[in-house]
């Protein structure tokens, strides 16, 4: 295991950092299995996982709809909830990216800005935290399926997440990764965009679904539940039997339940 990041806070105990899991509202409500997978992976990477009970949302709905004061209110709640942890880790590039933007919300409140900056510094997306901060290079998981991977935009462009999930997936026993065309093109989710402009969003996710289907993979993975709900919703409507999992579920060996939006009696994919 590599040295902890030089940006690690001073109070971090040498080899067992206390990681606060920010589960994200979508994983909390729609896919608790992603939270459990994140806990398992963080523990594999030698972290002590805490789940602050007062966490709620990252504030992105307000931030991206122009309500900066509302976003700041939500942000204050998150900052207070996680200030005691060495790190804040989220199974979402989008929410982690939002946390990194917190200082912008407090431009004229120096004390809160400082706290927001400290929070931004210790915030990481799950997979890149495992590889880049904790130096994890292999996981003990089996998933004998052909999969393809969608690069979620915020993780890709705001946090530089591209290679990290692929590196870990390469070590999953039996897994074959087939790249889709335009893996870096937006799926059309975009938070409230998908309900404000459903027809445009629908076209974008239909294009994404056909790129996925063209790979011949029966499973699509990604690192952000927003995108994955959108993609699963489209694939489900098309009824072509392609399953959707968060990459953490596969890496933790916990993709043994039906995929997102699959019928409850559908078998899990790890077999």
């Amino acid at each position: 295991m590599s040295e902890p990041s030089p940006r690690a806070p001073a109070e971090e105990s040498a080899d067992r950092p206390r990681v606060g899991l920010f589960v994200t509202c979508l994983a909390d409500i729609y896919r608790p299995n992603v939270g459990l997978a994140a806990v398992a992976l963080l523990e594999q990477a030698g972290c002590v996982v805490e789940v602050p009970a007062t966490q709620t949302c990252c504030g992105q709905p307000s931030y991206n709809n122009g309500d900066l004061a509302g976003a700041a209110r939500t942000a204050r709640n998150t900052i207070e909830a996680f200030e005691g942890c060495d790190y804040l880790v989220a199974p979402s590039g989008s929410c982690a990216g939002m946390l990194r933007d917190y200082p912008k919300l407090f431009a004229d409140q120096p004390r809160w800005r400082e706290r927001a900056e400290a929070m931004a510094r210790k915030t990481h997306e799950l997979i890149s935290f495992l590889t880049d901060v904790r130096g994890l290079d292999a996981v003990a998981a089996r998933f004998p399926r052909r999969v393809t991977y969608h690069d979620s935009c915020h993780g890709l462009r705001a946090l530089g997440i591209k290679d990290q999930p692929r590196r870990l997936l390469a070590g999953v026993e039996g897994l074959e990764l087939v790249e889709m065309a335009d893996a870096e093109i937006c799926c059309g989710f975009g938070g409230t965009f998908c309900v404000k402009y459903p027809e445009i969003s629908g076209r974008m996710v239909a294009d994404k679904a056909s790129d996925i289907a063209a790979t011949g993979a029966r499973v699509v993975l990604g690192g952000d539940l927003g995108c994955l709900l959108n993609i699963a919703g489209r694939l489900g409507r098309e009824g072509n039997g392609i399953s959707v999992y968060h990459v953490a579920e596969v890496l933790a060996g916990m993709a043994d339940i039906p995929g997102l939006g699959d019928p409850k009696d559908a078998g899990g994919e790890a077999r």
Binding site: V23, I29, T74, G191, F193, V195, Y197, E199, S201, D265
Partner: protein
């Protein structure tokens, strides 16, 4: 041109349903993005050049008054005349007056987005002049009586068949009556028609990609050579340009030129790069007798002092729209104003107001692809978000969305109640979905389903509830 941005939603849905348009958009899809990626990969210093370009543009904007004055002096020194147009109306009037004073009948035009912005063609036609666009794409949309749908490929929304029909209808009067089907034939025919216009033109109007302060030179890039013929054959050459086009030196212009074509079409250089400085001098074999520059402000100087200053770095390469998945789905006309795509979604509300164009900054997933490819690193998603903030402050957005957000914020700041709400939501949705595991419709959530997709159901228990139970079981 009246802005139609208020009807963005209807226009975008119509665009998605327009099969011919979709054929054209699909054909164009990825073409420029792939070519740009190749050109960038072939130039290791591309990112360093971008930094240099940002520095040049920022420095110039910081001292814009100084460089504009130096530019104007240099133009006058070379025998040209500079006209300052504060508004679109001023610009139209100035151009019409110059053409009248020159006793012009026929006017040729090179492609100019600022010309589209201020509505030069309409004003000239109203004043009785014959105006002919000489860029092939602009020529096509002029025949079709349409505005451009892209800032560098204005007719990208047209299929070959539509263009063949337009030529067939419009070229009969020149004795060209054969219906064409092959691209080279069509290009040749347009060239044949345009040649006559170049020779007959009294005034040539071009835009400018750059204005060079130290020499008073205007620079245009084209792939057809039409710009050269437009600015050198007629008696009078008029350059119309936004005030942000000025750069200090020839060296600066050449730095920006290295980025422009690569970002736009993936070419190392455009086929023609034309430098024009003043009218014909004694002894010059060709060139215009008069050289005018119309410097257009039209809202630009007010952007200098606010959050949108960075937008003035824009060199109009079109890379943002070439990489925008929303633009790729609906094309440029749905945006309802001169500049489409991400850069247009910033500029349009600033120019026609948020009340008219509030949809544009919202019709974006904030995926960041545009900012990633912008040669002058304009943080387009941040600027779009700033416009959303402005819209929110002005209370212009959708009311139900506003109420929904306020309620959500309240919940997020009250964790206990939030916990309870999410537990109920997860449980109820899972129960309602039953064994199927997803919804095909749901009251009050029509938007999601109108996108042609189902909604996966929650697992049933929230993560926070599972975690709490687990902690209890483990006696922690």
């Amino acid at each position: 041109m009246q802005p139609l941005s208020h009807a963005f939603k209807e226009r975008s849905v119509a665009a998605l349903q327009d099969e011919t348009l979709q054929v054209a958009l699909h054909r164009a899809k990825d073409g420029f993005a792939v070519k740009r990626a190749k050109a960038v990969a072939g130039l290791p210093e591309f990112d360093a050049l971008r930094d240099r370009a940002v520095a040049i543009k920022n420095h110039t904007l910081e001292h814009l008054d100084h460089y504009l004055e130096r530019y104007a002096e240099a133009v006058e020194r070379s025998g040209g005349t500079v006209h300052w147009a504060a508004s679109a109306e001023d610009a139209r009037r100035i151009v019409v007056d110059i053409c009248r004073a020159a006793d012009a009948k026929m006017i040729t035009k090179g492609k100019s987005m600022v010309g589209e912005e201020v509505g030069v063609n309409g004003a000239l036609e109203e004043a009785g002049f014959e105006v002919v666009e000489t860029d092939l794409g602009e020529y096509i949309i002029q025949l079709a009586h349409e505005p451009p749908s892209h800032i560098i490929v204005p007719a990208v929304h047209k299929t070959r068949g539509q263009i063949a029909d337009l030529f067939h209808e419009n070229h009969a009067k020149y004795g060209l009556t054969r219906k064409l089907s092959e691209v080279p034939e069509m290009v040749n025919e347009a060239r044949q028609v345009l040649r006559g216009k170049y020779l007959a033109a009294d005034v040539g109007i071009t835009g400018a990609n750059f204005l060079i302060a130290e020499t008073g030179t205007s620079v245009i890039v084209t792939n057809e050579g039409n710009g050269d013929l437009t600015c050198s054959l007629p008696r009078v050459h008029i350059v119309t340009a936004g005030i942000e086009k000025v750069v200090p030196t020839v060296e600066d212009a050449s730095t920006l030129l290295r980025l422009l074509a690569r970002s736009a079409t993936g070419q190392d250089m455009t086929t023609y790069t034309t430098f024009s400085t003043g009218p014909k001098r004694a002894g010059d074999p060709d060139g215009p007798e008069e050289y005018h520059v119309v410097l257009v402000d039209n809202g630009r100087s007010s952007m200098l002092g606010d959050a949108f200053r960075e937008m003035l770095r824009c060199i109009r390469c079109g890379a943002c729209m070439n990489h925008c998945p929303v633009y790729g789905a609906i094309g440029g006309h749905a945006y309802g104003w001169v500049y489409p795509g991400p850069m247009g979604s910033v500029l349009t509300p600033l120019s026609v107001g948020l009340k008219e164009a509030g949809n544009l900054p919202n019709a974006c997933t904030l995926n960041g692809h545009c900012a990633e490819v912008c040669p002058v690193r304009i943080p387009l998603p941040d600027l779009l978000r700033t416009l959303r903030h402005r819209e929110y402050q002005l209370r212009l957005g959708l009311k139900p969305l506003r109420w929904g957000l306020a309620a959500w914020v309240w919940f997020t700041a009250h964790p206990r109640i939030y916990r309870l709400g999410t537990r109920v939501q997860a449980r109820v949705l899972a129960l309602l979905a039953g064994r199927k595991g997803r919804f095909t419709r749901m009251p009050l959530a029509g938007g999601w389903f109108r996108g042609g997709r189902d909604l996966p159901a929650p697992q049933g228990e929230t993560f926070m509830a599972v975690w709490k139970r687990r902690q209890k079981e483990q006696g922690r």
